[in-house]
C-alpha cells in the first residue's frame, strides 16, 4: 500500500515538474495513433519505416538545438552544420567497410569541431550565441558549397539500404543473425533502424551527459547563471560543451541525411528551414527558450510532432499549400500554453528580466 502511494506521488511530482514534456508526449501519441488509424496501411512496418526515415534528420537537429537553448541561447548554425556534414559525408562514405567507418567518424568530427568553435567564440569572444552562430552558420554553408557546388555524391548503396529499413533488412544485408532469421532477433525484426539509431545516440550521448557535472551546469546556467557562478560551477566548460555537443548531434543528422538520400546537397533554404524547425521542435517539446528546463528527449518528441503533422497532408485530401499555415497554428497554440507562466508573475518588472 505504502509503496503504491509513494509511486503515485512520485508520478505526480514528475508531472508537475515536466508538464510541458508530458503534454508533448500526449499530443504526439494522439496525433500518431490517429494518423495510423486513418492511414490505409496504418500500423504496418512499411509506414513506420517511412515515417522514421523522414524524422531522423530533424530529430537530431532538434536535439542539437536543445543544448544551446538550455543555457539560454540559440544556435542558428545547427541546420548549416547538418548541411555541411551532409556534404562531407557524401564524399567520404564509400569504399571498403573500414573506409566507410573512417568516413563516418570524420563526418561526425567535422560537426563536433564546428560546434567546439562556436562554443569558443561564444565563451572567449564574449559574443551572444545568436549572432555568433548566425555568422558561423553562413561559414558552414559556404564550406558546404565549396565541397559540393552541385547536389550529388557517392554513398555506399548497401549502407544506404541497410540503415534506412527494418532490423531484418540490416541483418539480411550484412548477413548476421542468420540473415535476420535468428530467434533472438524476431521480436525486434520489424523495428525501423533509423528509429534505433536516434534512440542509441540519445542513450549513449544525452543520458550520461545529463548526469554529469557539466550537464548539470548547463541547466544551472540557464536557470540562474549568477548562482551557478557563486556555487563554483565550471561555467565556461559547460557552455563550450553545450555547443560542441550541438555540433556533434547536428553532424549525426547530416550523416544520416547523406545515407538516406545517397547524396549531399548544399541547399541554403533547407539549412535555414531545419534551423527554424529545430527551434519549433524544442519549444513544442516543452523546453523553455529562457533556458534551465527541458531536455533533448523532449525535443525529440517535439520533432516527431512536427513531422506527424506533415504526414497528415499525404493521407488527407488537404491542399499541401496549407501546410505552413497549419503548422504555424499548431506551434502558436502550443507555445500559448507556456505563456501562462507570465500570469503568475507578481512583480511586473520581472517580466523584463
Amino acid at each position: 500500500m505504502k509503496r503504491g502511494s509513494t509511486r503515485s506521488s512520485d508520478l505526480k511530482r514528475w508531472l508537475s515538474q515536466n508538464t510541458g514534456f508530458a503534454a508533448a508526449l500526449l499530443l504526439f501519441a494522439i496525433l500518431f495513433l490517429t494518423y495510423n488509424v486513418l492511414h490505409p496501411r496504418g500500423f504496418s512496418s512499411a509506414v513506420a519505416i517511412q515515417n522514421a526515415n523522414e524524422t531522423v534528420a530533424i530529430a537530431f537537429v532538434a536535439m542539437a538545438q536543445t543544448l544551446p537553448v538550455l543555457i539560454g541561447g540559440l544556435d542558428l548554425s545547427v541546420g548549416a552544420v547538418m548541411t555541411l556534414t551532409n556534404c562531407v559525408a557524401s564524399e567520404l562514405l564509400t569504399g571498403s567497410p573500414l573506409q566507410i567507418l573512417l568516413g563516418a567518424i570524420l563526418t561526425l568530427l567535422t560537426g563536433t569541431l564546428f560546434g567546439f568553435m562556436n562554443g569558443c567564440i561564444v565563451v572567449y569572444g564574449r559574443i551572444q550565441p545568436i549572432i555568433a552562430t548566425l555568422a558561423t552558420g553562413a561559414v558552414a554553408i559556404g564550406l558546404a558549397l565549396l565541397i559540393r557546388p552541385k547536389p550529388g555524391g557517392n554513398v555506399d548503396d548497401d549502407l544506404g539500404w541497410a540503415l534506412t529499413n527494418s532490423v531484418w533488412d540490416l541483418a539480411d544485408t550484412y548477413g548476421f543473425a542468420d540473415g535476420g532469421e535468428a530467434w533472438w532477433l524476431r521480436p525486434f525484426a520489424d523495428i525501423p533502424v533509423p528509429f534505433l539509431l536516434v534512440v542509441l545516440v540519445a542513450v549513449i550521448v544525452w543520458v550520461p551527459f545529463r548526469r554529469s557535472v557539466t550537464g548539470r551546469t548547463v541547466y544551472a546556467i540557464g536557470s540562474a547563471e549568477g548562482a551557478a557562478y557563486m556555487s563554483g560551477l565550471p561555467i565556461q566548460r559547460a557552455k563550450i560543451t553545450a555547443f560542441t555537443l550541438a555540433g556533434f548531434l547536428a553532424a549525426c543528422g547530416g550523416l544520416y541525411l547523406a545515407i538516406q538520400t545517397s547524396s549531399g546537397n548544399a541547399d541554403v533554404q533547407q539549412a535555414g528551414a531545419y534551423t527554424l524547425n529545430s527551434i519549433a521542435a524544442v519549444v513544442l517539446g516543452g523546453t523553455s527558450l529562457l533556458g534551465g528546463t527541458g531536455g533533448a528527449i523532449a525535443s525529440l518528441v517535439g520533432a516527431m510532432i512536427l513531422r506527424v503533422i506533415s504526414f497528415y497532408f499525404r493521407i488527407l485530401d488537404i491542399d499541401p499549400l496549407l501546410q505552413p499555415l497549419i503548422e504555424g497554428l499548431v506551434l502558436l497554440t502550443a507555445v500559448s500554453f507556456g505563456a501562462f507562466r507570465t500570469l503568475r508573475v507578481k512583480n511586473q518588472l520581472d517580466l523584463f528580466r
Binding site: V213, R216, Y219, S231, G292
Partner: protein, 507 residues
C-alpha cells in the same frame, strides 16, 4: 591566544574611485562566532566578497592560517574551506534540492552523478538542519523562501567549511529555524569552525556571537568581545561620523499640516512576504522619508504605489480615489499624477544609448505631440525648460545620456518626471552614487517642489539625508512601519535604533 584563521592586512577596495574598503586590518579566529556590524555601505559585503573570492582586493593581503592567499574565484575559496552563504541566494531554482546541495562536487559512480547517493547525502544534511520535511527531489523553485535558506545552510554544511560566512542568512527564517541555526553554530564552534555572522537583528547578534567588529565608511573601527560594550555604545560606533551635507531649511508647518487632508493614504498594505501591513500617509507640501536598513520593504512599497506589483492587498487612497494604479502608465496619467525615480537609474531610469533629449521626453509624449506625431517645436521647448530647470550640464541635448556624469544622469531622470507635473513624487534613493554638489541641488529641488504643493515620498539609505530633508520619517523593518518620527525627533540614534528594531530611546 589562538592563531587567526583569516587575516586581512591593509586591504583596500575601490569601485570607480569610490572607496568601499580602506586599509582594513581584521582577524578572525577559529572556534568563534564573529559578528560584523555596520550601517548600509559600511563595507561589510565587500569584506565578505573578498574573503569568498568574488572580489579581488586592490591593495593589501589576505592571509589564511598564516599563509598569504589570493582567490581567483568562488571555487578557489571553497576549496580553501571558506564557504559563504550570500544574501541573494546561490541556489539554482530549476534544479532539485539534492542537486543543489551537492552542486559542484556530487557523489559519482563510473564518472556519472550517483543520484541515489546524492539523495541520501541530501537527506542526511537536511536532517542536520532539522528539515526532514523537505523533499530532496523537489525543485528549489517550489520551496518557500525560508525553506530555501535552510537548503542553502545544508549546502554550506556539506562543503565542510573551516570558515562559514552567513550574510543575512537568517532574514527569512522562522523562529524554529533560527533556533536550529543557533544550535548548529554552537556545534561548529566546538568543532573549531570560524563563523562570520552578518545580521541586522541585534538580538540575534547578542544571542549568537562571542566577538563583534564594527565597520564604518569602509574602515574597521573596533573589535571587542561580547558584553564589553552596551547596545548604545555599539550604535554610536556604527554612526560616529560628521554630517557633511548642507540641507535647505524646513518650513514650520505644524499648524496647516495637521488639518490638511492627505493626498496619499495607505493602510495595511501587503505583498507576498515583503510587505506585511504598511500604514502611511502623505500630504501635499510634505517630504516623508522611508528609513530602515536595506531590503526591509522600502523598494517594494514604492513599486507597489507606482502600479508595478500585482496582487497587492490593503486600502489605498490616492487623491480621493480608492485603489492602486494598475501600471506605471496609469500611475502617471491618473487625475493625481505620480512619478517614480527608480532604484537603478541605468536600467530602470534611463535608456543609456538614447539621447538626452529622447530620455527627457519619454514620459510626456502626450504633451508634446499633435495627433500621432511629435511636434519638434514643442519638444525643443520642453527639453530646453527641463535642462534649464535642473541646470543639467550638457554639451548637446542630442548626445547619448551615458556621456553624462552620474549626477547629471540622475537630473535627467528627475527632469523627465517633472515634465509631467506630478502631484506625488516617489524617490528611491535618488542620491546614491552621485557627487556632493549635485546631492545638495537635489535636496534644494525637493524642498522647492514640496513648497509648490507636491507630496514627496523619499527612500534613502543615508540617515543624514533623512534627517536633513524630511518633515517626517517612517522606519521600515520586516515590511512594516516600526517607528514614525517627525521634526526634531528625527535623530541618527533614533533612526539607527529603529532600523535595528531595538529601543535605544528607552535605554
Amino acid at each position: 591566544m589562538t592563531e587567526a584563521i583569516v587575516e586581512y592586512r591593509g586591504v583596500s577596495k575601490y569601485f570607480a574611485g569610490i572607496r568601499a574598503l580602506e586599509g582594513v586590518d581584521f582577524k578572525c579566529r577559529p572556534g568563534s562566532v564573529h559578528a560584523i556590524l555596520g550601517e548600509n555601505g559600511a563595507g561589510k559585503s565587500t569584506l565578505i566578497k573578498i574573503m569568498a573570492g568574488v572580489l579581488q582586493p586592490d591593495a593589501g593581503t589576505l592571509l589564511m592560517e598564516g599563509k598569504e592567499v589570493s582567490f581567483a574565484g568562488p571555487q578557489a575559496a571553497v576549496d580553501a574551506g571558506i564557504v559563504c552563504m550570500f544574501q541573494e541566494l546561490s541556489l539554482i531554482p530549476d534544479l532539485s534540492v539534492a542537486d543543489n546541495i551537492s552542486i559542484s562536487s556530487p557523489p559519482r559512480r563510473f564518472g556519472l552523478i550517483d543520484r541515489r547517493a546524492q539523495i541520501s547525502r541530501a537527506e542526511e544534511l537536511l536532517a542536520r538542519v532539522r528539515c526532514e520535511d523537505v523533499d530532496p527531489n523537489a525543485l528549489v523553485r517550489e520551496l518557500s523562501l525560508s525553506r530555501r535558506q535552510m537548503v542553502e545552510i545544508a549546502k554550506a554544511l556539506g562543503r565542510n567549511p573551516k570558515v562559514l560566512i552567513l550574510d543575512e542568512a537568517t532574514s527569512a527564517l522562522t523562529a524554529r529555524d533560527v533556533r536550529t541555526v543557533y544550535d548548529l553554530l554552537g556545534e561548529l564552534k566546538d568543532a573549531g569552525v570560524a563563523s562570520l555572522f552578518i545580521s541586522h537583528r541585534m538580538h540575534e547578534v547578542e544571542a549568537l556571537c562571542d566577538t563583534l567588529s564594527v565597520f564604518r565608511n569602509g574602515q574597521h573601527i573596533e573589535t571587542f568581545q561580547k558584553g564589553e560594550k552596551s547596545e548604545r555604545e555599539i550604535v554610536r560606533l556604527m554612526i560616529g561620523r560628521d554630517v557633511d551635507a548642507q540641507f535647505p531649511p524646513k518650513p514650520d508647518r505644524a499648524g496647516e499640516a495637521a488639518t490638511a487632508e492627505p493626498i496619499l493614504k495607505v493602510a495595511g498594505l501587503k505583498w507576498g512576504n515583503r510587505l506585511n501591513g504598511i500604514d502611511l500617509s502623505l500630504k501635499r507640501g510634505e517630504i516623508v522619508g522611508l528609513g530602515g536598513l536595506d531590503g526591509q520593504g522600502q523598494k517594494e512599497l514604492l513599486l507597489a504605489l507606482f502600479g508595478v506589483l500585482k496582487d497587492v492587498e490593503g486600502d489605498v487612497i490616492i487623491g480621493g480615489q480608492k485603489g492602486l494604479p494598475s501600471s506605471p502608465a496609469t500611475a502617471k496619467n491618473a487625475a493625481t499624477r505620480m512619478a517614480l525615480v527608480p532604484e537603478d537609474r541605468k536600467t530602470e531610469g534611463l535608456m543609456l544609448d538614447m539621447s538626452i533629449a529622447d530620455n527627457l521626453l519619454v514620459s510626456s509624449f502626450g504633451k508634446i505631440s499633435r495627433g500621432p506625431f511629435i511636434d519638434p517645436g514643442r519638444a525643443a521647448a520642453e527639453i530646453g525648460k527641463g535642462i534649464a530647470k535642473l541646470q543639467i550640464k550638457v554639451g548637446s541635448a542630442d548626445d547619448p545620456v551615458m556621456t553624462l556624469s552620474g549626477g547629471n544622469q540622475q537630473k535627467v531622470v528627475l527632469a523627465k518626471w517633472l515634465m509631467i507635473d506630478p502631484d506625488i513624487i516617489l524617490l528611491n534613493d535618488p542620491t546614491r552614487g552621485i557627487d556632493v554638489g549635485t546631492k545638495q541641488e537635489i535636496y534644494r529641488l525637493m524642498r522647492e517642489l514640496a513648497n509648490e504643493g507636491k507630496a514627496i515620498l523619499f527612500y534613502s539609505s543615508d540617515y543624514a539625508e533623512l534627517i536633513g530633508c524630511c518633515d517626517r520619517v517612517s522606519v521600515l523593518y520586516g515590511g512594516q512601519v516600526v517607528s514614525e518620527q517627525s521634526g526634531d525627533g528625527i535623530t541618527e540614534e533614533s533612526l539607527v535604533a529603529a532600523s535595528l528594531n531595538i529601543g535605544v530611546e528607552a535605554a
